[in-house]
Structure formats: C-alpha cells, structure tokens
Amino acid sequence: MGKAGLIRIAVILAAVLALEIACRTGAVPPSAVVPPSAMLASVYEILTTGEIAHDLRLTLTAVVIATIIAIVGGFFAGLIIHGLPRLRRTLAPLLAAYYAIPHLAFYPLLIVVFGLGLGPLIVLASLLGIMAMIIATLDGLDHVPRVLLRTAAVLRLNRWSEMMLVRLPAAFPHLLSGIKLAFSYAFIGVVAGEFILSTAGLGHAISFAYDNFQNRRMYGLILIAIGLVTLVNTTLLVGERRLLTRRGMR
C-alpha cells in the first residue's frame, strides 16, 4: 500500500478515536452519538441474536428482485434504444433529466397504488436502478472501438455473432459499472422507502429504533446497512479492477 493509503487509514482511525474520546468524555452527548465501540458491540449483538434476520431477509429480497429487474430491463432497453438512433434522440432529454427528479416523491403514490409491502419498494427501487443500467449499456455500446467492428467485418461475422462475440465483450466493463450502480440505487430505493413508510425491513428497523430512542441499536443497524452495501460494492469493485487490469485499462 502506498503512502496515501497509509495516511488514509491513519486519518480514519484518528477520526474514529476522536469520536470515541468525545463520546466517553461527554463532549458529545450519548443522546446524539454513541461511542464507536458501543456501535460495534451493538452490531455484534444484533447479528448474534439473529433478531434482524427477518427484516434483513425482506430488505434483501426486495433489493435483489429490484436489482435484477433493473439490470435485465435496463440492458434490453439500452440495446433497443441503441439500435434506434431516432428513438434515442427523442428520449435524450428524458435520459438526461431522469435522475434529477426526486423519485422518492412518488413513493407515497406507489403505496396508494400497490399497498404497503414489497410491491411499492420493488417498483421504486427498480425505477431508480433501471436508468443507470440503460445509460451504462448505451455508453458501453457507444465506446466499442471502431477497429474491432471493422475486424468483425473482415472476419465476416453476422450481426448476432458481432453482438455476442465483439460488441458485448467490448462493452462489458461499462455494463459492470451499470450493474454496480443498479445495485446501489436499488438498495437506496428499498431502504429509503422502508425508512419513510413501511412495516418491516432494515430501513424500518432503523427508523423504529430512532422513534423509540434506542440509539445504540439504531447505530448498530446503520452500521449493518452500510457494511452490507460496502461488502457488495467492494466485491463488485474487486471484480471490476481485476477485469480492467487484465484488459490494461488501469
């Protein structure tokens, strides 16, 4: 690890330590922040008692379903839009403005339509994730080097082979970033929805703990949520790094 990496770890450790001291000495009241050591202890308790298992299962189910919908739907929508330049030009303003609109404002509406439960969460999360995948697919297909397509023509590949053997492999790094983003968005969508209004799930557990002044537990749950996302993100990132290194893009 380089010098910057070591300093980074030192900075983070120092920040955590400072927070610990501030909490222990009462500079930060326990009604606001509990000490990091207590947060970790709380994570341990919650995970070992397994009390969160049900909520976690619900949240992950919604996230996984939404991510799959976003990835598959976004990929095929991207393929179609890429194949139809006129449609793409027409949709351009929509693509550009999509993430500017706070989709969460529509969550209440989705509850009215689908009722409380997994339904509105999955819809909200898929809606958030799908555009990332569409844009990544378009981006990937746009950036296939022309010389590779010319090579495909010299080798007389038909359209299907060209797509499967040249375009998609060449676009794969972009698709992978799309997958990563789709997951992130889906997770945010589900947890935000649960958090605002729902009867179960990780987000709901956090807001329930907040409402009931269970700070220790709340911080433990927040750490679990962040840890979960970081775990998935890091896994995808490691895969991406490996791929990019092999391709000499890093």
């Binding site: 300093i7 606001a32 027409t90 339509v113 709340m218």
Partner: protein, 255 residues
C-alpha cells in the same frame, strides 16, 4: 465520436421530439389514471387543476417557503463547500489521494440510513433538512472539482509561466477556463442530489414543508394532493436540471 454527430437535427425537430416525449408521458399517465381509477391516480388535467388550486391556498405557502429555504441553503452550502474542498484536495496531490477514496465511498453508501444521525445532531427543525440536503450535494461537487483541478494539464501551466503569467493570471486565464466545464457538471449533479436529500429529510419526521404535505396526504388517502405536489416538485427539478444542462453542454462544446 459523438461530437461530430453528423446529422445535427434542426432546432424545430428537436423541439418536436421533446414535445413527442411529453405527449407520450401524458398519454400513458392518462391511460394509467383511467385504468386505475381516481382512488389510485388522478388524470393529468385534474392534477394540474389541483396543483393550481393548491398554490392558490394560503396554507400552501408556508410549506413551500420552508422547502425552498431549506433547499436554497443546502444548495449554497453544497456548492460552496464542494468547491472549496475540491480545490483544496485537487491542488495538493497527496491530500487528494488520501481523501478522494473516502469521498467516493461516501458517495456510494446509502446516506438515507444516516438521516436519524443528522436528526440527533441537528434536531427536528429546518437545520436537519439543510444538513441532509447539503450532505447529498457536497460530495459530487467535491469529486468533480477535485478531478477537474487535478487534471489541469501541467504543460499549460508551464506554457503560461513561459509566457510570463503571474500565478494569479495563471489561475484566472488557465485554471479557471480549464476546470469550469467539469465543475459545472458536478454542480448540476450536486443540485439534483441536494434536492433529493432535502426531500428525504421532509418525508421523514418533518413537521413542515412540501414533503410533510405529501406524507400527511397519505394519512388521509388524498391522492389528488400527492399527485399535485409530486408534479410540482418534478417540474421544478426538471427545469433546474434543464437549465444546468444547457450551461453544461455549452461549456463542454468548446472542448
């Protein structure tokens, strides 16, 4: 490759396309509303009518002011803070290398889970919403500014020195023009995310603002109000984004 997109559609055609998208959205909205019934969704015309009516009521404006104030302050804090941090981190290489991954990590964690922490720190008032909005917005502005400053071509600076520019002149005539397009992109994303953060704050544990109106409309199953407010927020977000995008594109065209 995209810059020399040969067939530049005429302005008229582009407006036509935009209109087409708008019509398609309105048509599918109308169809959904008719299919679902007024319990589920109101039609476009009803929604607009109700939105107009809502904005005519005096009880609407304090909530609007609350949201507008929270968002404006959050946006200002996000942009100024992001610029300052981005410049500081971009100008000093090691500092940038130390902190950039931290910001990128912060960018990708679901900040929504941190809202209770913000509430505990800032209380239940407008400050929490501002803080949460600013938290969302500041990160993209920082990351984009940092990268823009870091990627200023050293050769340009050397060329500037060779032409006898003072450090101040170098910043004014080289660094600023070179970084502005990227920074504006970052600000555009930051403004959108700050709005999202402010809205999130209002939807959860808030007693005032448009988000609060949305949540209280759910309690009484007031679909008309939900739709009308969602529409108003969307139009505002879209308009702001369109304006920023226009500036953004204009700046990027030169390069």
């Amino acid at each position: 490759m995209r810059s020399n997109e040969a067939i530049q559609p005429s302005v008229l055609l582009r407006w036509g396309d935009g209109l087409l998208v708008l019509l398609a959205i309105i048509a599918s909205w109308q169809a959904l509303a008719l299919w679902g019934g007024s319990d589920v969704m109101t039609t476009p015309i009803e929604t607009v009518r109700h939105a107009v009516q809502l904005t005519g009521q005096s009880r609407f404006w304090p909530h609007f002011r609350e949201t507008a104030t929270a968002y404006s302050v959050a946006a200002i804090v996000a942009v100024l803070g992001g610029l300052l941090m981005g410049i500081a981190l971009g100008a000093h290489r090691l500092t940038g290398e130390v902190f950039e991954p931290i910001f990128v990590a912060l960018y990708s964690i679901p900040k929504v889970t941190l809202y209770p922490v913000v509430l505990l720190l800032f209380g239940l008032g407008i400050e929490a919403k501002i803080a949460f909005g600013a938290m969302h917005g500041i990160i993209p502005v920082t990351i984009f500014t940092l990268n823009a400053v870091r990627q200023v071509n050293r050769t340009w600076l050397r060329a500037g020195r060779a032409m006898g520019l003072s450090p101040a002149q170098s910043i004014l005539h080289i660094v600023v023009p070179a970084t502005i397009p990227e920074i504006v992109s970052g600000i555009r994303i930051g403004l959108s995310l700050a709005l999202l953060g402010t809205m999130l704050g209002e939807l959860f544990a808030s007693k005032r603002g448009l988000g609060f109106l949305l949540m209280s409309a759910i309690d009484v199953h007031d679909v008309r109000t939900i739709m009308a407010i969602a529409l108003l927020i969307s139009i505002f977000a879209w308009a702001m984004n369109a304006a920023m995008l226009a500036i953004d594109r204009r700046l990027h065209q030169r390069i």
